[in-house]
């Protein structure tokens, strides 16, 4: 017979995975909308944002309840506190997926998007988000560290996209809104990559107790 605390911890874990899955699908939909110009997918990504917010509140209250009522220590405490931190990052990912989708809705971006490396950037970012959640699900330290390293790839891709857009503007300065929007979208992806890195760092913390090379707690 498992006790109530274990049950609550399990339920926290499950809610977190579910929330991660929601983020993954939101960013995947936003990306597909961007690259294929599918506005229904963009709409779905925007809808998912409120669902993610809802999930964040649920996990948050569950974490606080656990902290107050059970007063966990050691490993359990690490798991709960890292969950509390991770949902903030997940919620931000959901916001940014929704922001990307809103831009896709307002301006036709997909022809311009194919000309630059933003697709690669999107795929790399989605990979990071998926891996960071996988790392949490499987308690996979090696995978979490790979996600942290992969952040450089996304950062470099952002610089590439930026210079591509700049070159395009030099040739055709009258191109207008699209390059600016694309730059912002690229920045959003770069931010999503950062959030995925944060999640991976908290996964590392919940396993080892070390956060960014510093022993906490």
């Amino acid at each position: 017979m498992r006790n109530r605390f274990d049950e609550q911890l399990e339920s926290l874990n499950n809610s977190l995975i579910r929330m991660g899955a929601l983020c993954e699908s939101a960013i995947a939909n936003a990306t597909k909308a961007l690259l294929e110009g599918d506005r229904t997918l963009a709409g779905r990504a925007i809808e998912a944002d409120s669902e993610i917010d809802q999930a964040e509140r649920e996990v948050e209250s569950l974490c606080l309840k656990l902290l107050l009522q059970q007063q966990p220590v050691a490993r359990d405490l690490r798991q709960i506190s890292s969950a509390l931190k991770m949902i903030t990052d997940m919620e931000r990912i959901g916001d940014q997926a929704s922001d990307i989708s809103e831009m896709v809705m307002s301006v036709e971006l997909d022809p311009a998007a194919h000309a630059i490396h933003i697709g690669d950037m999107a795929r790399a970012t989605i990979g990071m988000v998926t891996d960071s959640i996988d790392a949490y699900v499987r308690r996979d330290l090696a995978l979490a560290r790979r996600v942290i390293e992969a952040d450089d790839v996304v950062d470099n891709l952002f610089l590439t996209v930026k210079s591509e857009l700049l070159a395009g503007l030099k040739i055709n300065p009258a191109e207008g809104e699209a390059p600016l929007d694309l730059l912002m979208i690229a920045k959003y992806y770069e931010r999503i990559g950062d959030h995925a890195t944060n999640i991976a760092e908290w996964v590392e913390f919940s396993i080892t107790g070390v956060h960014k090379g510093e022993l906490l707690g």
Partner: protein, 569 residues
């Protein structure tokens, strides 16, 4: 148990001791009292005898001192106390009303037993009428029965202690005697135990229950095995989850589908196996709302349809979810092919219709010059012919699609078929400066001559159409009679490697721009493939770009020609 045995033993011992004590006490009391009474009486008699007429106070005093246990009183006939060995007679009341005194006055002697003031002792009074009419009364106290008990109490308690210890020891021994055989019982074979007979009914019942349980376990095992055999061997993935979506069991297909081992994931949250959004939604819908949810999922290049069904006994809360994963890759592909086919057919039909309608419109509106009318009509005619050809091909294909057996199955000479085709297509070949030759010796196959001619003609027509000027098409008959083989080779443009696998598909064209020029419908090879299938023949293709194409129809050997075998090309 030991306590209870101990208690009952102790009770038994105490009751026995007490009863013994009461009985012996009563007997002792009776005997003692009787003796006291007898003593008092005899003493009284002795004193009365010794007492001289009238008696003296001194004598009484003497007698009273001699035996302090007895009280001696001399009472005058009127009841006045004359002498008492204990109290002063002057202070004593009149004794005439005492029952023993009255009795003595009337009948000579009288006895009476009275409780004296103190509890526990009774006093026996004996009165005797002396010759001078005075009454001599003797009194002696005897112990009451309670007193005797109280005196025994110490001894009784002392006796209790060893009895207690003995009872405890005995209880332990007895308990062990009862329990020891129970502890060593062989429960697997209850009837073979050698124990005291009181246990036999229990053992018999155990034996019956054991058999019953054994039977039930066997039934359950069998059912479980049947269930496992079904689920483990089915191609569909099956996962049983509890109400919290934790895995209870996965069958082999499901484990393979999600890339896990079934034992390893037992008790894990299902979304840790796969958290794709549609699947998660379907599962939560089933678990939270108790409604059937379904989701499509693509994994490792195959498409799956997943159905999550809630397990919900008697409209209560959802107790679990059954997830069934069906591989729908083939259906999806077939569906895609059908869609493509419909799109192709409409496109192929639309193209000639557009030009027909265009030319006809020009003639109708008088835009066409008089001299152009005839060439326009010729174009309309040729486009219409093309459409007719297309529709005929489609009808042919659909007929072949429906057919499962040859309409007309007999021995056919392949050489005859080849020659007829060469003659039929001679004109078309001549127009393009291409020679058709037939080589090899005659072979006989089982089949429909019309369909076989259609097959050879379709292959040859392709050979002619996709040939270079002055090329050659060869119909070669080879193989032995048991496994005949018809080969059509050309010296034409050839088919690039990447297209080779798809040229037998309906409307598939290597070079889409050439279709009009060569006038084909794009269905020739597809029809050829169908005819070959009906004859259980294998169709294979080798080709080199710029050098030509060879298509081989390998007829099945006679032995292999069993009904139901599918001659897939």
């Amino acid at each position: 148990m030991r306590k209870r045995i101990f208690h009952s033993m102790l009770l038994l011992a105490v009751v026995t001791i007490l009863t013994g004590a009461i009985l012996s006490g009563a007997v002792a009391h009776a005997v003692l009292t009787e003796r006291v009474h007898a003593e008092v009486r005899s003493e009284a008699r002795i004193i009365s005898r010794l007492l001289p007429e009238g008696g003296t106070q001194e004598l009484f005093a003497e007698a009273g001192r001699a035996n302090p246990a007895t009280r001696l009183t001399l009472i005058a006939p009127d009841g006045t106390v004359l002498f008492d060995s204990v109290a002063d007679p002057a202070t004593m009341e009149n004794h005439a009303d005492r029952p023993e005194v009255q009795l003595a006055m009337q009948v000579g002697t009288g006895a009476e037993t009275r409780n004296s003031g103190t509890l526990g002792s009774r006093t026996y009074y004996y009165a005797m009428k002396l010759e001078n009419g005075q009454i001599l009364r003797m009194a002696a106290a005897s112990d009451s029965i309670w007193n005797i008990f109280f005196r025994q109490a110490g001894g009784l308690l002392a006796a209790m202690l060893p009895v207690l210890a003995f009872a405890a020891w005995l209880a332990q021994r007895q308990t062990r005697g009862i329990i020891a055989p129970l502890l060593t019982l062989d429960l697997e074979h209850p009837k073979e135990n050698d124990v005291y007979e009181e246990l036999s009914p229990l053992l018999l019942r155990m034996d019956r229950q054991r058999e019953e349980i054994g039977r039930q376990i066997e039934t359950l095992d069998k059912k479980q095995q049947e269930f496992t055999a079904i689920t483990e061997n089915m191609r569909e993935g099956l996962a049983v989850l509890d109400g919290n979506l934790q895995v209870l069991s996965l069958n082999r297909s499901a484990a393979a589908l999600f890339g896990v081992s079934a034992d390893e994931v037992r008790g894990r949250y299902f979304l840790t196996l796969n958290r794709s959004e549609p699947l998660a939604r379907a599962l939560t819908r089933a678990a939270a709302e108790g409604k059937v949810g379904s989701a499509g999922l693509t994994m490792a290049g195959r498409s799956y349809q997943l159905v999550a069904t809630p397990v919900r006994p008697e409209r209560g809360r959802v107790e679990g979810v059954v997830l069934l994963a069906l591989d729908v890759t083939e259906q999806k592909q077939a569906e895609a092919l059908r869609r493509e086919f419909t799109a192709n057919v409409s496109h192929e039909l639309k193209t000639p219709l557009t030009s027909i309608s265009g030319y006809a419109e020009m003639i109708e509106n008088g835009i066409a010059k008089q001299v152009d009318v005839v060439p326009f009509a010729a174009r309309i005619h040729s486009e219409a012919t093309r459409m007719i050809q297309l529709v005929e091909d489609l009808l042919e294909l659909s007929k072949l699609d429906e057919r499962e057996e040859l309409p007309n199955n007999r021995s056919v000479s392949l050489l005859e078929v080849a020659n007829r085709v060469a003659v039929r297509l001679g004109e078309l070949a001549d127009r393009r400066g291409i020679t058709i030759e037939v080589t090899g010796s005659d072979k006989t196959v089982q089949g429909d001559p019309t369909l076989l001619e259609e097959l050879a003609a379709n292959l040859c027509e392709n050979g002619i159409k996709y040939n270079r000027e002055g090329g050659r098409v060869t119909i070669a008959l080879s193989g032995d009679d048991a496994a005949p083989c018809l080969q059509v080779s050309d010296t034409g443009v050839g088919i690039p490697k990447e297209h080779q696998a798809r040229v037998f598909e309906r409307f598939y064209r290597v070079d889409k721009s050439r279709s009009k020029e060569t006038g084909g419908t794009g269905l020739g090879l597809s029809i050829a493939k169908h005819i070959a299938q009906l004859h259980r023949a294998a169709l294979s293709l080798t080709s080199e770009v710029g050098r030509g194409t060879t298509i081989t129809v390998q007829f099945p050997t006679e032995q292999k020609q069993c009904p139901g075998e599918d001659g897939e090309s």
